[in-house]
């Protein structure tokens, strides 16, 4: 992955500046060539099940959506901006309380109008994902 790529750096800066990403504490750990890796540190205010301390599915959705968008924007054929058309998330298991959640998203196909993305989210146990996602994103025309 080419992290020195200018486009990647621009995407990183714009993603990390987004108010909702900041509120969730999202960090971009790698970006470039149609792939992005983002990390969401454990935060008690994001807990969705008070009985277990497990992070809310919604917060994981926001992480995977952000990471998917970043993967699209840093694709060599992509343009400045994108929006999610649809996103399906399968929640395979509860993330372990206290651990950060890391997502890797890949923009595996792109046309003039649509970008297709796959993403996986893990906690400290890298052997089995917490969640997987598939999404379609718009490809905005460069003006």
């Amino acid at each position: 992955m080419d992290t020195t790529d200018e486009k990647a750096q621009r995407v990183r800066a714009s993603m990390e500046a987004l108010p909702h990403c900041k509120a969730l504490g999202l960090e971009m750990t790698d970006i470039g060539g149609g792939q992005a890796v983002m990390r969401m540190p454990y935060n008690p205010s994001l807990v969705g099940d008070p009985a277990t301390g497990v992070i809310a599915g919604g917060a994981v959705s926001a992480l995977m959506d952000s990471c998917g968008g970043a993967a699209v924007m840093c694709h060599p054929k992509a343009v400045a901006s994108t929006a999610t058309l649809d996103l399906r998330i399968d929640y395979m298991r509860a993330a372990t309380p206290g651990q950060a959640i890391t997502t890797r998203a890949v923009c595996h196909h792109i046309t003039r109008s649509v970008a297709f993305v796959r993403a996986e989210a893990f906690d400290d146990d890298a052997s089995t994902p917490v969640a997987v996602a598939n999404g379609a994103f718009t490809v905005e025309m460069q003006s």
């Binding site: 108010p19 994001l46 969705g48 809310a56 926001a62 952000s66 399906r88």
Partner: protein, 169 residues
């Protein structure tokens, strides 16, 4: 025939149960999501805040915030339907976040983004298409200014929490 309960008693019981359901979840507070109730019908409200922005140029709500809002509305509506009968029978007394039944778990959730989310309040209502003992299928619609012009909709499957079995279950 039993006389109907006074309105204040009914309202107090339902509102207290709904408040306990919502106040116990930190993420619902973090997002600024509230619920309004008409009888057993719930409407979720995502109170606008700058921290929900995901596109500063437009500006627009973050798609993830919209997904989260719809998922919270689905989960709460499902939990509410799950406790409603017990609540009305008077079997659930003095509900607190600690004594509430466990929440359903999301198995999968698919969000369909129809319009960009404007920087103002959003509303959502969920319809439970099927609720079995183990699984439920829920559809949610989200809108802003116009009920007929949805900004997003979603469908999800949920695993129902195990409840004390009656008889042979």
């Amino acid at each position: 025939m039993k006389r109907p309960e006074p309105i204040q008693i009914v309202k107090q019981r339902r509102d207290a149960a709904l408040a306990a359901l919502i106040e116990g979840v930190p993420y619902i507070q973090f997002m600024g999501i509230g619920f309004e109730r008409r009888g057993d019908e719930l409407t979720g409200i995502l109170h606008f805040d700058d921290k929900l922005i995901g596109n500063m140029m437009l500006p627009a709500l973050h798609g993830g915030a919209t997904a989260a809002f719809l998922e919270v509305t689905a989960t709460i509506t499902l939990s509410w339907a799950m406790i409603w009968d017990d609540l009305e029978r008077g079997d659930l007394q003095d509900l607190t976040p600690q004594t509430l039944p466990r929440l359903p778990k999301t198995i999968d959730f698919t969000v369909d983004y129809l319009r960009s989310g404007l920087p103002r309040d959003a509303y959502a209502r969920a319809r439970i298409n099927r609720k079995g003992r183990r699984y439920a299928s829920v559809h949610v619609e989200g809108w802003q200014d116009n009920r007929e012009r949805l900004h997003a909709q979603a469908t999800g499957h949920f695993l129902m929490p195990t409840r004390p079995t009656v008889g042979n279950g």
